[in-house]
Symmetry: C3
């Protein structure tokens, strides 16, 4: 888009007197910012009543930024439809799983399935693209804002019901085929017409998981279709502009790979402190990293979104200090604002854009820090961004993210299937993926997170987390893969219709793995199963499978003597959910066997390579010696790496 | 019904190609199965559209089973009304306490109060009975399936409202009588017409407990009436067939004694591993018994349902491996599938029927194990059932359950009254009953669980758990009882209208017990009250009463010097909620005083007598010596009893 | 009202046969009772159908009480509108935040905004005042009952919506002014008409906090207006009678200071055991004081309601034994019924009225103890009240509450603003206020709790808990104040419209305090920040601010070196939330510097002065020596003060 490694900022000219704009733009440039996102919540200002467009203020704002050489990323305002539009079309409001209409007064109140609202979006985006599609100050467009935020992907509205019925008809053709695919005979749930089908909500007990998984797929498809309405309009009128969206943390309700088919760059919103407060369940870890964020969470998303973006990604919103939306909102340890930004670049980001230029003194986010305080004096983040800008100048052209030898295969559909029928309450796809990621990264490895369409040829090791449904094409790719493959439990345990396969799990991978899964169990941590591997005892901590070994070697056994790890040539299968220690031991052995070097990192120290540079980050809790980790010329940082600090080496090799 | 001690299985021919049926039937017979339950969820196949009956497939299925000598238990399909019926009569759907209609998509979506739906049930059951009432392959009928499952007894629909008003009019005659009975003057809740009365839901704060208890009674009565619609039809057309229903674990929302007035045999659905996961609150105990189930839970229900069934009971669904519906679904320790079955027989079961023949590869229960895997290979349960079948052959005719010398009196109404006004959040009728049961059983005793109509003459000791309302007839029975009586707190503390009696608690038992209760308190475990008994200190752990002693002896006192246990002749009263240690000590003393022998059992070892046999079961965690527990000839098992194993002795005495 | 120090009781003649009334009245007099509250839930008896008044029974009841010299406090019955009225005007029912109508069947089901219901209240109160306004037996009126109980202040009904729109129009004049005041540009939340505005409920995520705070203010104003409808009617027809309302524990949903503008005496309902069960989060403390109540909770409310009542207050309902509404309902330790009563008098109460005369044997509160049991025998409370009455005779005229040298400023609006945007989940205004109160009281101090209109001149130390919006008049009062002022964090951080002030926090107090707050953070207990003060280490346990010191001294610093306590002349600012130890140390030093003597009290021992008397109370857990605390002649009690006992000294000084 945008640039090789640009610093950006999110800016709301509509919140401030026009008299401040020029000074804002000047100071942005001075601090090293080159990209500015604007406009994404401003519909009520762009169109104060139906059909009355007021774009001049926006034009003047873009001109002002452009005058300082800043490239504008223009947000479409569709995440906040104004009240007059909602009142004119009240059935555009989403409906919750509780049956209540989700009302006006905040944001994201629309239903993705509502065709009328899609038309309104096409209209406003079209008008914007008409006016700004050729503006030299505009470099890119952001569609909407944070699809799915506040649990908004699935809606239970009348629009969604009708849309779902059509979608099912297109998918199954006949209702008999649907009855068969869902197994509706089970509890007399058979339908005689698509018009009889309802949304999976409000039933007495669990609805059919095939029904729910299809509703998950349908809902994901609506996000894709909704987004495409906008990209089509923008492509038509602003063909040279890049298009992106700002994705979120651990958000899984729609298929980001599929959305990216219509987009240029994947960006995401990185809030390390808010995220550790929301997502970390270990209270000790939550406390240790409360003011730095989790050492792996940001990196994971960088690698994931680089994967969904086919190599192109950025951070659209980077936390600049305390936020307002977590249960507890700590301040960042000094240095972290810079560190988080540089870590993005180290993973290959083209853009790191801070949210926001100036703290808003009103409305929902007044507690959200910015680069400047509400009284317009620079806050600490301002100075850290300035330092980051100086760092970037020193590094010059960094090239692209260093190629990884290890990949994790990631699937949104796997997440839906496991969520809809978890079988054990503690079974979480995303936990498993992130645990695997952490374990690999603590070995000092660069990692790719890829979809099922990725070319696997360059990897020494591929980890396949639990993927219930393995499409045929992907099964073939796995069979063709020449490196080491580690398959985690539950893989291949379901068909596309969410049935158990005729040959039982691992279904299409049965021959590749040489096993058959005959029974599974889930359990609490108190009932964990010991596993002996590499002469030590580890644990399956929540899941165990019993397998019949057809043509594989048994590498490890559980405490009851059942196979725990099998291997057939290069394809390994783990029969349970490994604890972190087993993951690290196993991954370490597999990767070293494959000839990849590892380096055990201490606590919060992490590394990543981009181009000829190797970056070192210290999330704490203790300072470390740089020479223990980096070789070559140190171009950023000194000998000792304090908590919150960065070191960068130009590598000889 | 059925047989003296039959093994059965639940089977769904409609889920499988007809070509598999004959082989299924043959293998059932070979493994020792003699009874097969079918049909109970198949309405959409029996009547695919209104009035179009398709019974031929069912007839062929029954024929196929009958050809192998298997007796069919035919389930009425009324737990799963099909979509066309719901769409034709949408107000038949139940309504939740949250005011939402409980929608189609799973099962049990009907409202018990809906007269139109009752008519539809009569119709379909009548057609089935017409067709199969004289079929030689059918031996019994199961009405509906698991009444009350998924909290479906109480519905807040318009049908329920109108039904409740009629029921109240019939009960009270005049609204003035109702106002008096409920004490409606209290907060100006007086009504001037039955039509003003609403369901006890959605109010600002607690509604009148008399109102709620009457709604509990009304709702229970609807289950009874709903069931009787079906039994009347079946009796008319299949007069020689037995009728049963499959009851549930710790389910208390309707009066099972009353339902059984119209039935022949009480059966229940026994899921030891799912149940311990759902019901056990002690995490250590939950972990120890995660793969065996609680050592007393199954036995308690055997004894309870033998009581509700006036001596005749069975297990309709017996867990065969992991289930799908608990938070965590562990696999059974080897041996337990057989053990649970034999334990049912030891308590007098006529039938132990496993659920299900083959694991379903689709819909809600695909994670629920069966005797066979989805690919039709036998699972472990298959072989354990085979072994159970061999055991049974060795035992021959076992006679009936051995007569118990100790009884616990059980009351559904007591449960409702205590739930509607618990006064202490940890006060649970069912907990108290089950704790008492466990304590008695750990003393090696055979126990009866009986209703208030039971003949108490043969018992040495009767335990009366908290029963707020003591009907006059039962009070007379207690006065006439010649054995030892232990009355637990809160008994006699309410009238039928849920008032405090004029003479205060224990109301009609005041003379029998020689005390008056003047004040009560509830408390958290941290505020427990010490009790000195038998020279040791125990605790009242959640409830204490202050009593005025009129004509009783004080046997024990609490730490503040108040009476803790009183005795007048043979009638004892406990003034608080005893901890488990106090229960065991006290019950042990009372029962031995009454001349009944006890034997302290270790951890998970349990015993039961049937006919001349005495059965020993080991739920673990450790192996034990059989000779420590059993005398006489060992006819099943060896000297040492492993965890998950069984021993049976033919007793000399 | 009423008397200098009267004992009262709550009585429900409508619950009992008229034949009992005379004996009840006689025994009330004998036990020392002089005031009786009646009538407040009796609408269905006063007006059994629309327009048919039946006041004779009430008149006879009042006559009966009057005949024994008892003064009646007559409750208006508006908390329990009868069914016929609700059915005639169904939209008078309140609507919950969940969108459900809150239905008939308990109490407080009306919506404060409903004009029709206000008219009905005016009518029934007018009829009552007409009949009893001149009755010599009536001394006072209680309006309604426990405004706000069961979360009833805020309603989401159509009446509330329309009322809110009118209220906003009156407050802002134009919708443009409202958009500006709320900052609606933020997420395109701008309105073009007041008719577009909805209630802040059901939105996808957080609504605008300015919107919510205005709805809190609106809802509080409806309580005030609702109450004034009744006081206007009563003043007109009973001009010599006192008017009061019975407030609640830690209830904050309406502005009690504002309601008291139309009232004579503030009374409240004191339930020490129910309250500790509901409000105490520390389980150890909850257990220690389970049977005595929290040593400070009652006192805090006495001082608060004495403040809202401008010096005049009482207890309308005093717990007499176990209640029915907490999770656990313990019995009181012997002596506490008397102690709680005397503690009320010690703090200046004019009335301590016990709830209720006789335990009701029916309906919702049958587990709530009374002075008499349901069978009309006296319960323990009866005898403790008798003893309290003898104590009072010994003390004679006690004068008024001793003047306090320390005040805490209390604000309902502060509570709303902090609740609507807490920023840290553990941040609680009421917790902070109560912690400060406890810390001061453990220093043996008499304390005033006052509003922003209070005259501060007499105080040596004023504590200002977090008050986001500081009105100009109050800022001026603080500047003029000559004593020591301690300001707690977040004070002055918002404008009236809930914006961050232009000069940032502490806004209007910037010059007085000499600081500017530049950033804030909230955190869990595990991330607490050490603070060094007075050579010891304490903690900020949930909140920290970073301040720029303009013209103040830094008295203490946090562990990162940031200012923790600043002081400019006599105005101190604490930059974080102090733990209890820091509060006690800091308050102790400040108060002693100001020349006020302190005395550290042990565990549950507490003191208060009234007139020339000093009272000592022992909440436990251990007995103490009276001479360690009291000087002068001991007029009540002995040398040793047992748990649950009282001592009173006539002070020499």
């Amino acid at each position: 888009m945008v640039a090789a490694a640009a610093i950006g900022v999110c800016y709301y000219p509509e919140h401030w007197p026009e008299s401040m704009w020029a000074d804002d733009a000047r100071r942005m440039r001075e601090v090293g910012i080159t990209r500015v996102r604007i406009g994404e919540f401003s519909w009520s200002r762009l169109e104060p009543e139906a059909g009355r467009y007021e774009f001049d203020w926006l034009s003047r704002a873009i001109d002002t930024l452009h005058a300082e050489g800043l490239g504008v990323i223009l947000g479409t305002p569709t995440a906040t439809p104004p009240k007059w539009l909602v009142d004119a079309m009240p059935d555009m409001l989403a409906v919750g799983d509780d049956g209540r209409v989700r009302s006006f007064g905040s944001r994201r109140h629309y239903c993705f399935s509502h065709i009328g609202y899609r038309r309104e979006c096409a209209r406003i985006v079209s008008e914007l693209a008409k006016r700004f599609g050729a503006h030299p100050g505009v470099v890119a467009w952001q569609t909407d804002n944070e699809y799915g935020c506040h649990d908004t992907v699935r809606s239970y509205s009348q629009s969604a019901l009708l849309g779902f019925r059509h979608w099912l008809q297109a998918r199954y053709g006949t209702v008999a085929a649907l009855n068969e695919a869902w197994g509706n005979v089970f509890w007399s749930m058979e339908y005689s017409s698509f018009n009889e089908i309802e949304l999976p909500s409000g039933a007495v007990t669990e609805t059919n998981p095939s029904h729910r998984v299809d509703f998950d797929r349908y809902s994901s498809d609506q996000v894709i279709a909704f987004n495409k309405v906008q990209t089509d309009v923008i492509r038509a009128r602003a063909p040279t502009h890049q298009i992106l969206h700002n994705f979120m943390t651990f958000h899984v309700d729609f298929d980001h790979f599929a959305v990216m088919d219509d987009m240029d760059i994947a960006t995401w919103d990185s809030y390390p402190l808010g995220s550790i407060d929301v997502f970390e369940r270990d209270l000790v870890r939550k406390s240790i990293y409360a003011r730095t964020g989790d050492p792996d969470l940001q990196a994971f998303h960088h690698d994931l979104y680089r994967g969904t973006g086919r190599g192109r990604f950025g951070i659209m919103e980077q936390q600049p200090g305390p936020v307002n939306w977590a249960q507890y909102n700590t301040d960042a340890k000094p240095g972290m604002i810079r560190l988080w930004g540089m870590e993005g670049f180290a993973h290959g980001a083209e853009l790191v854009s801070y949210f926001r230029w100036r703290q808003a003194p009103f409305a929902q986010e007044q507690f959200h820090a910015g680069l400047n305080m509400p009284d317009n004096t620079p806050d600490r983040a301002f100075f850290e961004v300035e330092e980051l800008s100086r760092d970037l100048k020193m590094l010059g052209d960094m090239g692209t993210a260093a190629p990884a030898r290890v990949a994790i295969v990631y699937s949104y559909e796997a997440q839906w299937m496991l969520r809809e029928q978890p079988q054990g309450r503690n079974f979480s796809y995303i936990d498993q993926v992130f645990s695997a990621y952490r374990s690999l990264r603590e070995l000092g490895l660069d990692i790719d997170v890829v979809g099922t369409n990725a070319d696997l040829a360059s990897y020494a090791l591929v980890i396949l987390p639990s993927m219930p449904y393995v499409p045929d094409a992907f099964a073939s790719a796995l069979k063709a893969f020449q490196g080491t493959l580690l398959v985690m439990p539950r893989t291949g345990s379901r068909t596309r219709s969410h049935h158990i396969p005729d040959n039982l799990a691992p279904g299409p991978l049965a021959d590749l793995l040489g096993i058959k899964v005959t029974r599974v169990e889930s359990f609490r941590v108190g009932s964990a199963v010991p596993v002996t591997y590499d002469n030590e005892t580890f644990r399956f901590d929540r899941w165990r499978e019993f397998v019949e070994v057809k043509s594989a070697d048994v590498i490890a056994r559980d405490g009851d003597g059942h196979p725990a790890l099998t291997r057939k040539v290069r394809a390994c299968y783990l029969t349970g959910s490994p604890d972190r220690a087993l993951m690290e031991r196993l991954f370490g052995r597999l990767v070293r066997e494959a000839g990849v070097e590892t380096q055990i990192l201490s606590a919060g120290v992490r590394m990543r390579g981009r181009g000829r540079y190797r970056f070192l980050f210290n999330y704490g809790p203790d300072p470390v010696e740089v020479s223990d980790y980096l070789k070559g010329d140190i171009v950023v940082g000194g000998k000792r790496l304090e908590v919150g600090d960065i070191a960068v080496a130009r590598e000889a090799r």
